[in-house]
């Protein structure tokens, strides 16, 4: 009796691990193309071996915590000299059209296909509220 429960739980654990790894592979894949085919500052940096404020895997998992933490620190404590900011994300990851105009980071088409934020967020169906107020293109 107890043996079969154990077997079942092992089976479940294997299945669960498989599902999680599949999900991870799929989300990782969804955000891949912007880098190779884009012309943003981040793409250029990636080609020369440069790195974001954290390594890519870390950013993919934890960027939302970083951004949320920074927003509270900035608004309530006035600290603006932070290593990450939403403005920084947009400035670095926005691609340019041939005409020289920036493509919004939430656009579904442009150089390299769907743009930086859209490429993962649309795929995973996670709505993105930042840009109801914040700018989707660099404002230099």
């Amino acid at each position: 009796m107890s043996k079969s429960i154990e077997q079942k739980s092992v089976k479940f654990a294997v299945l669960f691990a498989l599902l999680v790894s599949l999900l991870m592979i799929s989300t990782a894949h969804a955000g891949k193309n912007w880098r190779a085919e884009g012309n943003s500052k981040a793409s250029e940096m990636a080609q020369t071996g440069g790195m974001c404020v954290r390594d890519t895997a870390d950013m993919r998992r934890n960027h939302m915590d970083l951004i949320q933490h920074d927003r509270d620190v900035t608004v309530h404590q006035g600290i603006r000299a932070l290593d990450g900011s939403l403005k920084g994300c947009v400035n670095c990851h926005a691609n340019k059209q041939e005409s020289g105009e920036y493509v919004p980071v939430t656009a579904m088409s442009g150089p390299g296909g769907s743009q930086f934020c859209a490429s993962c967020h649309v795929y995973t169906s996670v709505s993105l509220d930042c840009f109801q107020c914040h700018s989707t293109v660099p404002t230099e």
């Binding site: 309530h76 600290i79 603006r80 000299a81 403005k87 700018s135």
Partner: protein, 253 residues
């Protein structure tokens, strides 16, 4: 029909170049540098309390330089009237951080003009009533709205005795970098907090005033221009009876 009033970028660029020239030549060989502006890296604390003294006797009737400068700085005009809206109603509900107010003394008939904005109270009623904590007073005395947690209930607008707050009723055309905003949040004057956090010590309205009627600075520093002016000239708080200890004071009313 859609009317668009967008930020005048040429004017903004002009202002930017004006700010960029921070080194002033006083005489050959003597150059005065203003403090090096750098983004803030430490949390604000209560050793500073930002405040303002407005000399309303210098406010010429019809002058709206400060209002215009505020609108430009904070992108308050990047905002279109929706199709079919009533223009009069629309105009009444536009976001305004500074209101140009005319007062008349019924006894003497004396008329005074003054800009009225958020008074940055020490005990702000807006923060008192806010159900989410979005309306708050920063340690350095700036009363502001955290739009990330504002739910748009507008209780603060009811609570403010100065009618200083505005609600964003419609989607905005341009999302300004300095004051990101979207439909459904309340906002008000924040003493150009983006400038303060960048190490600057002036506000847009102060810079724009042709009569130098607005003095801005640290109320806690006895040597600041605003503290010296407050010590020298008689000044009042508007609705002093409410005991809010406002950060904005007026003289010449």
């Amino acid at each position: 029909m859609k009317t668009t009033d967008q930020t005048d970028h040429k004017r903004r660029d002009f202002l930017k170049t004006g700010v960029a020239a921070s080194a002033v030549t006083l005489a050959p060989g003597i150059v005065m540098h203003t403090a090096e502006a750098a983004p803030r890296d430490k949390a604000v604390d209560s050793s500073v309390r930002w405040g303002m003294l407005i000399d309303s006797s210098k406010c010429a009737s019809g002058c709206d330089s400060c209002v215009q400068a505020c609108n430009d700085e904070n992108g308050l005009e990047a905002y279109s009237m929706p199709e079919g809206a009533d223009p009069e109603k629309w105009d009444q509900q536009r976001p305004k951080w500074i209101r140009s107010v005319t007062l008349k003394d019924n006894l003497s008939g004396r008329i005074s003009n003054l800009p009225l904005m958020c008074q940055h109270c020490e005990n702000p009623p807006c923060a008192d009533v806010c159900p989410t904590g979005a309306s708050f007073r920063r340690a350095d005395g700036v009363v502001m709205v955290d739009r990330h947690i504002c739910i748009g209930c507008r209780y603060c607008m009811m609570a403010c005795p100065y009618k200083a707050r505005s609600f964003i009723h419609e989607n905005v055309d341009i999302k300004p970098e300095l004051a990101p905003r979207g439909k459904g949040c309340v906002e008000s004057c924040n003493f150009c907090v983006h400038r303060l956090d960048d190490g600057q010590t002036t506000t847009a309205c102060q810079d724009a005033c042709p009569e130098n009627a607005i003095i801005f600075g640290d109320l806690n520093d006895p040597n600041s221009e605003v503290s010296k002016a407050l010590a020298e000239y008689p000044s009042v708080q508007i609705r002093a009876d409410l005991r809010l200890n406002t950060g904005v004071r007026y003289s010449g009313i």
